[in-house]
């Protein structure tokens, strides 16, 4: 047919990290997953439940063994048919140092002992230790099944879109894959452009340079909402905004001070001001209220400046020199708070926090850095708190977030927090396989975290996107894992 090729341009806050970003390495999988280039064995539904994807079925053979049956008729972008051997191959690359897919983090998370190919469409995965999160981990975008690329096809996945090119931090381009197992996509091309500045993204939408802004600035969204204008998409997500305080030194190693900080932050105001009333729920624990299967509904993170002050007074953190800032060990408590660019709500949150801490006699200096660099700075003791925004359950499993952030020695436990009780609970949680059995454990985990405050949860954000009115088939995924689907389309 002679219709003009349909190209959808999406503005996103982050871009690819290299020009051939293998989905399995680093955090590359998110983008290629959203772009529909790579696919995992198991998917995550819009209700955060597991969905068959490349795997049609998955079966627990023993505590450490999983049988996975592959979907038939799946084709790689280069036309070859997906086989069990391909899957095994793909996973093997995670451990191959020097290979672009090398991903020690995921490898550790999966804890695989072996992969056995039963027949062309059946595999058996065996883990070292019992790991109830195993299947959930397979939903992570990094666990994509890929074939080694070559010149014409630098990245060979199985998704509805074929990788075309990427420009570091700028753009990610893919084209429709007619032989997709789920049916040919309606779009011919999909372009994801990185526009870190939400304001420019909004302008770009206004000037029709892009058709969809995936992370629309909240303030502008509120205005659209008011005017009932624009093609608005909103959905609550598991994304948690939280502070990670430094626990192995500095003023925040002091428990009372940390408690006071949490009590002194008026989360309602933060949500109202930094999200411009668009939506967001005050966090009472690390999990959002809509994650009903895992959230501990009895927890509270109240705003109580009076109690905060009392707590500080009791701990001997008082303002002796009358400059309005309390002292700890003779020095003014001036916390260095830092966050990064990319999510519009981060910066105002930081500023509001500063104002609020001031009111309970705690000084704060704030600045904007970059995520990785901020982690280094936190580890080095250059800063005291790092404001971050994470999806708390990208794979739908409650283990991921605490295991990555607060378990002893966890990869992002930069603040140096360690609680053996918590570690034991997490260990136990991973070895149990029934939701009912695991629920009380994670409720306890949330409780401990709220008491020790190795992270200080602030709020869960509602994700908002705005289209130009012609975007069809777009839906915000609560974990923001998916975006491009064969149904995604652009009206004439």
């Amino acid at each position: 047919e002679n219709r003009a090729p349909k190209e959808l341009v999406i503005a996103a806050p982050f871009g690819p990290k290299s020009s051939v970003p293998d989905p399995r390495a680093r955090q590359n999988g998110w983008l290629s997953n959203r772009a529909g280039v790579s696919e995992t064995l198991i998917g995550l539904g819009y209700d955060m439940s597991m969905q068959p994807r490349l795997a049609l079925s998955y079966e627990n053979l023993s505590q450490t063994q999983w049988k996975i049956a592959l979907r038939e008729g799946v084709k790689f972008h280069d036309g070859s048919v997906l086989t069990a051997a391909d899957v095994k191959d793909s996973f093997a690359k995670l451990d191959a140092e020097g290979h672009p897919a090398y991903n020690p983090r995921l490898s550790k998370l999966l804890g695989l002992k072996s992969i056995t190919v039963e027949d062309t469409h059946t595999l058996i995965f065996e883990t070292e230790t019992p790991n109830s999160a195993f299947l959930w981990t397979l939903t992570e975008p990094s666990a994509a099944v890929m074939k080694d690329g070559y010149d014409d096809y630098p990245l060979i996945g199985t998704g509805p879109f074929v990788f075309e090119k990427a420009v570091t931090e700028k753009t990610y381009v893919s084209r429709g894959f007619a032989d997709y197992w789920g049916g040919a996509p309606k779009l011919d091309r999909l372009v994801i452009d990185a526009i870190p500045d939400g304001a420019v993204a909004a302008l770009a939408l206004k000037s029709s340079d892009v058709h969809l802004v995936s992370n629309y600035p909240e303030a502008d969204f509120a205005k659209l909402e008011e005017d009932q204008a624009g093609q608005r998409f909103a959905a609550s997500t598991t994304r948690l905004f939280f502070y990670q305080p430094r626990m192995d030194g500095g003023p925040l190693a002091n428990d009372a001070l940390r408690q006071a900080v949490s009590l002194g932050l008026d989360r309602d105001t933060i949500v109202a001001a930094s999200l411009a009333g668009v939506g967001g729920d005050v966090a009472n624990s690390m999990f959002p209220a809509n994650m009903t299967s895992w959230v501990n509904p009895h927890l509270m993170l109240p705003y109580d400046p009076a109690q905060a002050k009392a707590l500080l007074d009791d701990a001997g953190i008082v303002d002796n020199d009358g400059n309005g800032i309390r002292e700890l060990d003779g020095a003014d408590v001036v916390l260095k708070l830092r966050t990064y660019e990319g999510r519009a709500a981060l910066r105002p949150t930081l500023e509001i926090s500063q104002a609020m801490l001031q009111q309970i006699g705690i000084g704060a200096e704030i600045s904007i850095g970059e995520f990785g660099a901020n982690n280094d700075a936190l580890a080095a003791g250059e800063i005291d708190m790092h404001l971050q925004a994470w999806g708390t359950a990208p794979q739908g499993d409650p283990d991921y977030f605490p295991s990555t952030l607060v378990a002893t020695g966890a990869s992002y436990n930069i603040a140096g927090y360690s609680n053996p009780d918590l570690d034991a609970l997490l260990e136990q949680g991973r070895s149990l396989f029934k939701t009912e059995e695991r629920q009380p454990i994670y409720a306890k985990v949330q409780d401990i975290v709220n008491q020790d405050l190795p992270i200080i949860p602030l709020f869960h954000k509602t994700q908002v996107s705005v289209g130009n009115g012609k975007v069809i088939g777009y839906q915000i995924h609560p974990a923001e894992t998916y975006l491009a689907s064969p149904e995604l389309d652009l009206a004439e």
Binding site: D220, A273, E382, I383
Partner: protein, 276 residues
């Protein structure tokens, strides 16, 4: 600089400079404004967020409910004061280096100019971004970075101006008459190149205002909650479509300040060129 008053040429010209009064009135207005405003530039008022300009808040309030007019006033301290300090220090260092290099020629010139060139190779914003970024964004790092890279411009211009002066017979005369080098610099070179330096000084001052606000706008400069104009613009960026007044007033403040300085600088130049 107590020295400047002992140089009759400088002494004579300063009161005659037009624009000095404008600047003074400007400074007084700012000072009076700061004294009179009932608001605190950093105190958030969450009930009053994003208010549009009104009798209570002349320029409206920002996303934290802070009075923008007050912040613009206080911002002048950061934007004007900080840059003035940075540039003046840089100008003093650079002028001395440039004059000494031009006067002495040969090896001194060689060493000084190569050092200057080495530093010069780092554009202000680049080095400020690098230093502020690598050492952690803070106002102090910013100031240091800017000073380190602000003097070379003066050194180079002064040298090139002074060299053409140095070849003049009257400089030779002065040196033949046994004047020590610094006196020749001070009495002969300086007055001749002063107009040029003045243009560059005012020019750099305004450029530094722009640089500081640009850096703040990129997040490398003056850190919140300090009311630097560029930082205020950054605040306003997220509300560009909904509350444009946040971005308009600080932007106008930058424009107006830089414009005033530049125009005053031009008039000084014209006067100096005529007078000295």
């Amino acid at each position: 600089m107590s020295m400047s008053l002992s140089n009759p040429n400088v002494k004579q010209t300063i009161p005659a400079m037009p624009g000095t009064w404008t600047l003074m009135v400007f400074a007084l207005t700012l000072g009076a404004g700061m004294l009179m405003t009932p608001y605190d530039p950093t105190q958030a008022d969450f009930l009053n967020r994003l208010a549009t300009p009104s009798a209570l808040h002349w320029f409206g309030t920002d996303h934290l409910g802070r009075d923008i007019a007050t912040r613009v006033l206080y911002g002048s301290f950061w934007s004007l004061g900080l840059s003035l300090g940075v540039v003046s220090i840089g100008a003093a260092i650079g002028t001395i280096v440039g004059l000494v290099a031009a006067q002495n020629g040969r090896w001194v010139d060689m060493i000084l100019m190569r050092t200057t060139d080495s530093f010069f190779a780092f554009p202000e914003l680049i080095s400020a971004v690098t230093i502020a970024g690598l050492f952690g964004p803070s106002t102090m790092n910013l100031v240091l970075a800017l000073i380190v890279v602000s003097w070379m411009k003066f050194a180079r211009l002064v040298r090139s101006l002074a060299i053409s002066v140095v070849q003049q017979d009257y400089i030779l005369q002065a040196r033949l008459n046994g004047l020590p080098a610094w006196r020749v610099l001070w009495q002969h070179n300086l007055p001749n190149i002063l107009p040029g330096v003045f243009v560059l000084w005012t020019n750099s001052w305004s450029r530094t205002i722009l640089a500081i606000s640009g850096l703040s706008f990129l997040g490398f400069g003056v850190q919140p909650p300090n009311a630097e104009w560029g930082a205020m613009l950054l605040d306003g960026k997220a509300y560009l479509l909904t509350a444009p007044h946040i971005m308009i007033f600080p932007g106008l403040a930058v424009l107006f300040a830089v414009l005033t300085i530049n125009l005053t600088g031009d008039r000084w130049r014209d006067r100096l060129a005529d007078n000295i």
